[in-house]
């Protein structure tokens, strides 16, 4: 298979990507586009989590989307009330594909509903608090949910509605847990600020409300930053159940309010999407003493590695043996399919520009198919997601990040419990199990490939023209642009309504999916056959 990477001069690539921009734009974008060097050369640092340039077509969405859509969206039994004009609530209604499975037919599930105060001009002028209170009353009377979250959209901050005061007042009045999110779309520079705000409020208002230790397993974990797109969480559930691991809570795929309230009783936090949830992991560590480490369940090898980490943490030999046996059994089927698909995909190029962790995680699956990710980048991540948390001390907070509240957390006097001793932690660290650490995406990428932060529409087109990848991964807005260029495009927010792709069965699904996408015959028929004929050709005369 031809592979365009070999024939490309990387210095030219960057020039090509920047050449159309006005000088100021080019200077800024220059810092967000980084060539990955070989292990013994130093790769430049990347600029990330900075403002989007007005007029440069971006993938990014807003703070509200990160807060309401990403982090709180997947929880089924909190009524998510959008305070604002109708649009914001409408567009975030069921469009993220988080699957959920209530325990029984009568259990609360509001995921299929969209609640909005549908603000009108009158409220913009005179304030919307009155309507908001009335809306909460109506919800309370109609549905009597256990909790309501209020999500502020852009105008709310400007007209000065105090959603937190309303939440407190209505909480007292109705007796249900009501909390507000100041996640106006203009806060921060992308969805990222919304993640942080969501983490803060979940921590303040729900985590720690219920101390009952549930379940019978010795191995009690939380999974942080997993959103159950396409049923990923169900596959992970299957794995945890098989290994007798109790999943106390997930933030927030297939989750419920009660699980959040109880989550501080777990003994380990596994962080999947570092970007969207690292705040909660850190806060739970400080307040309750729950250690966290980074795992990744995208990719069969990565899944096996992550399970082994859990085994190591909990330590006992039986448990570790059980994990090994399980991996061995699962890998048999995985390998069968992988080998077959790899033969058809090997050597081809992929690009992944999406989200805050998937651009990293999905490289694993492509690797397993023998494909190289020649360009990758996040839509809304920070430098630590690219270069690892070791760069955290060097990141200067700018005006946009300073606007987002940083909670000051202290040890909980009664409930703090470090789970494992310092010595044990040191020992595990010396064996390679690092806590509170994320290595970032860039160190796993190959020499000569590109990390591009907040890639623009223009750069997307150029990268495709230059490298002609076999598959390009991004989101819905990019989907048909890429496909019109004749390149199969895989959505990695919504999975193109397929999945699951996590865990072992997920890996199998993904191998087959990529094979289908890049090897389907249809791409060969795009051009009409007569276009391939010479301009003039003899007219056929039917014999009489």
């Amino acid at each position: 298979m031809t592979n365009n990477k070999e024939n490309i001069n990387s210095a030219e690539v960057k020039k090509e990507l920047l050449k159309q921009y006005p000088p100021k734009v080019a200077r800024k974008r220059d810092k967000q586009i980084v060539l990955i060097k070989s292990k013994n050369e130093k790769t430049e640092e990347i600029q990330a989590n900075v403002r989007t340039i007005p007029g440069i077509i971006t993938q990014r969405g807003c703070c509200y989307a990160g807060c309401k859509g990403v982090v709180l969206g997947p929880t089924r039994d909190i009524v998510n009330l959008t305070h604002g004009p109708i649009g914001c609530g409408f567009y975030s209604w069921l469009t993220r594909r988080n699957q959920t499975m209530p325990d029984g037919p009568d259990d609360e599930n509001y995921m299929t509903y969209c609640f909005s105060t549908d603000m009108q001009e009158e409220e913009i002028i005179f304030g919307g608090e009155k309507k908001l209170k009335k809306a909460i009353e109506e919800i309370h009377e109609l549905l009597n949910p256990k909790a309501i979250g209020i999500f502020s959209t852009c105008p709310v901050g400007l007209i000065g509605d105090d959603v937190h005061a309303v939440a407190r007042e209505m909480s007292e009045k109705t007796g249900i847990n009501i909390f507000g999110f100041s996640c106006e779309g203009y806060k921060g520079v992308s969805q990222s600020s919304g993640h942080h705000i969501a983490n803060n409020q979940l921590f303040k208002h729900i985590v720690g409300l219920d101390d009952t230790v549930k379940g019978s397993s010795k191995y009690r974990i939380n999974l942080l930053g997993e959103y159950n797109i396409g049923g990923d969480a169900f596959e992970l559930d299957r794995i945890f159940k098989a290994l007798d691991i109790d999943l106390v809570s997930t933030f927030s795929g297939n989750s419920s309010y009660d699980q959040f309230a109880n989550s501080h009783t777990a003994d380990l936090n596994l962080v999947m999407c570092h970007r969207s949830i690292n705040y909660l992991a850190d806060m739970m560590k400080i307040k309750f003493g729950i250690p966290w480490f980074k795992i990744n369940f995208i990719g069969a090898e990565a899944t096996a590695k992550s399970l082994r980490k859990i085994g190591k943490y909990f330590g006992d030999a039986d448990f570790r043996k059980k994990i090994e046996d399980f991996i061995k059994k699962e890998m048999e089927e995985v390998e069968k399919v992988r080998v077959e698909m790899e033969a058809k995909c090997r050597g081809r190029l992929a690009m992944i520009f999406v989200g805050g962790s998937r651009a990293h995680h999905y490289q694993e699956l492509f690797k397993e198919l023998g494909m190289e990710t020649v360009g990758a980048g996040y839509e809304f991540a920070h430098r630590d997601d690219y270069e690892g948390r070791r760069v955290l001390p060097n990141i200067q907070a700018d005006a946009d990040s300073r606007n987002i509240e940083e909670l000051t957390i202290e040890k909980d006097p009664g409930r703090y419990n470090p789970r494992i001793t310092d010595e044990k932690m040191k020992m595990l660290e010396s064996e390679g199990l690092t806590f509170s650490e994320y290595e970032g995406m860039m160190q796993e990428m190959t020499n000569g490939s590109w990390a591009i932060d907040d890639i623009s529409q223009y750069e997307t087109e150029k990268m495709i023209e230059l490298y002609k990848p076999a598959v390009f991964c991004a989101g819905i807005k990019e989907k048909y642009i890429v496909q019109k260029m004749g390149i199969p495009m895989k959505q990695l927010h919504s999975y193109d309504y397929g999945g699951p792709y996590a865990g072992f069965n997920g890996a199998i699904n993904f191998y087959r999916e990529i094979d289908r996408m890049i090897n389907t015959e249809i791409w060969k028929h795009i051009e009409a056959p007569w276009k391939k004929r010479p301009e003039l050709h003899a007219k056929y005369v039917f014999a009489s």
Binding site: P54, T117, K134, L158, Y458
Partner: protein
């Protein structure tokens, strides 16, 4: 049950909207702007709105939907978005080189009170708008109206910015199609062609949001009304405006500005509304109706008379936008169906009045709610109290369809889970035939699925 919390008992709500039957103005403005050739829509506000609008339009059309944003941060929200918009205009013309940028506002920039013409003037004096290029705008705060009025405002902006009187009147007719599918726009143009009428359609998204797969991405595809044609609309003999909310503001503006008289008609859904369009064309242009159109109409009549028994008396619940809803309800009644529950979130007293008039002859009074709190939650409650045979509306209705086991026809915006709407029209006689086909398929599939063994029919 997917909508397990929707109670049968209806309580009056005044503050909470649940499962809306409308969305916000800018998305309509964005859609309208895409119907100008070489145009890049621009959302003046935070980037989230633009991302949401592009995503929703993309899911509905399965086509590239290009648009830019001013990407407000907190600073811009406090101090105003002038710097952002001027910079955006410069970047857009430099990088993407459209012929025209169509700016619409969002709730945020409207709440701040940004003055777009003043900012565009500033961009002009700063030399950010190249010669021969244009920036137009429409105000589209979403705390008023809906996506339909947003569309209407952007179409009006096309008139405000471009229509002019130049060489004197021409035997050309303006067609303002309303907030309909690209396929519908194509069909109205085809009908005008059949009627031997020279026309300018604006906006015109055909070719743009139902483009071909060629292996090449064109940021500004073939298709869309040209700026030159937009200018010429002022010289046209008359305008046919389809749909009061989405088309009349532009038609009226054109009358005031360039003395082009207009005729307001319903979007031609169903034979009655199509008959009116054909006769209006006949009146305006003095042409005769060709046999080809009689043939189309005759076939539609044939289809209805052949299958009337399956349509008669069937109870329908529907949700759609007012300009479609009115002719659709008329059409359903004309083929013997009973539209018993009707909601639309787009406010408008006149919509409600017309719906009540249209349904006044029915056996029992229809449930109709328009505007505030007219949502799918209420529609569902009505259905629980008074069951129906068929649902017509956008994809969100499928949750009700599944819970209540009711057949459904996808119609309107957005359709997120099926294709066809961008290629096959539902307007005109042919479009009407497609609608009937969809309705019959839905009803007869259900009949096949549900009838007991002994009365399962081969021939229907």
């Amino acid at each position: 049950m997917l909508l397990r919390h929707t109670p049968k008992e209806i309580k009056e709500r005044t503050a909470i909207t649940i499962n809306p039957a409308k969305t916000c103005q800018p998305i309509g403005a964005m859609y309208a702007s895409l119907g100008i050739h070489g145009c890049l829509p621009h959302s003046h506000g935070s980037q989230g709105c633009c991302a949401y609008h592009r995503s929703t339009l993309t899911r509905h059309y399965k086509e590239p939907v290009m648009a830019a944003t001013s990407s407000f941060t907190e600073g811009a929200s406090v101090f105003g978005g002038q710097a952002n918009l001027v910079q955006a205009i410069n970047n857009i013309f430099t990088v993407y080189n459209p012929d025209i940028i169509a700016v619409h506002t969002t709730c945020l920039s409207e709440t701040i009170g940004d003055d777009i013409p003043q900012i565009v003037a500033k961009a002009m004096t700063d030399g950010k708008i190249p010669d021969g290029k244009y920036v137009i705008h429409a105000n589209t705060p979403s705390y008023a109206g809906s996506h339909v009025t947003g569309f209407g405002s952007m179409v009006k902006a096309m008139v405000d910015y471009f229509s002019e009187n130049t060489a004197g009147k021409r035997e050309v007719y303006n067609l303002i199609p309303g907030y309909v599918e690209p396929s519908d726009m194509e069909e109205v143009k085809r009908l005008a062609n059949e009627m031997k009428i020279d026309s300018i359609m604006f906006p015109d998204t055909s070719g743009i949001l139902n483009g071909p797969q060629t292996g090449r991405f064109e940021m500004f595809p073939e298709g869309g009304v040209s700026i030159n044609d937009l200018k010429l609309t002022g010289d046209s003999a008359a305008t046919i405006a389809l749909g009061k909310l989405s088309s009349e503001p532009a038609a009226r503006a054109l009358d005031t500005k360039c003395k082009v008289p207009y005729k307001l008609l319903d979007i031609p859904i169903g034979f009655l509304a199509t008959d009116r369009l054909i006769m209006a064309m006949q009146d305006l242009a003095g042409t005769t109706v060709p046999y080809s159109i009689e043939l189309e109409r005759g076939r539609m009549m044939d289809m209805i008379t052949d299958m009337q028994q399956y349509l008669h008396g069937k109870r329908v619940a529907l949700s759609a936008d007012p300009d479609q809803l009115i002719p659709l309800v008329e059409f359903l009644i004309s083929i013997g169906m009973d539209p018993v529950h009707i909601v639309t979130g787009t406010p408008g007293k006149k919509t409600e009045k017309r719906l009540r008039e249209l349904t006044s002859g029915m056996k029992s009074e229809a449930n109709i709610k328009v505007g505030a709190n007219a949502d799918l939650f209420l529609l569902h409650q009505w259905i629980k109290n008074d069951p129906v045979d068929l649902l017509i509306g956008n994809t969100y209705l499928k949750y009700i369809a599944r819970d209540e086991d009711i057949s459904m026809v996808r119609f309107g915006f957005p359709i997120l889970d099926r294709v066809g709407h961008s290629y096959f029209p539902t307007v005109g006689y042919r479009g009407g035939m497609r609608l009937i086909e969809m309705i019959l398929n839905a009803l007869l599939d259900a009949k096949d699925r549900k009838s007991p063994d002994e009365s399962f029919e081969l021939v229907m």
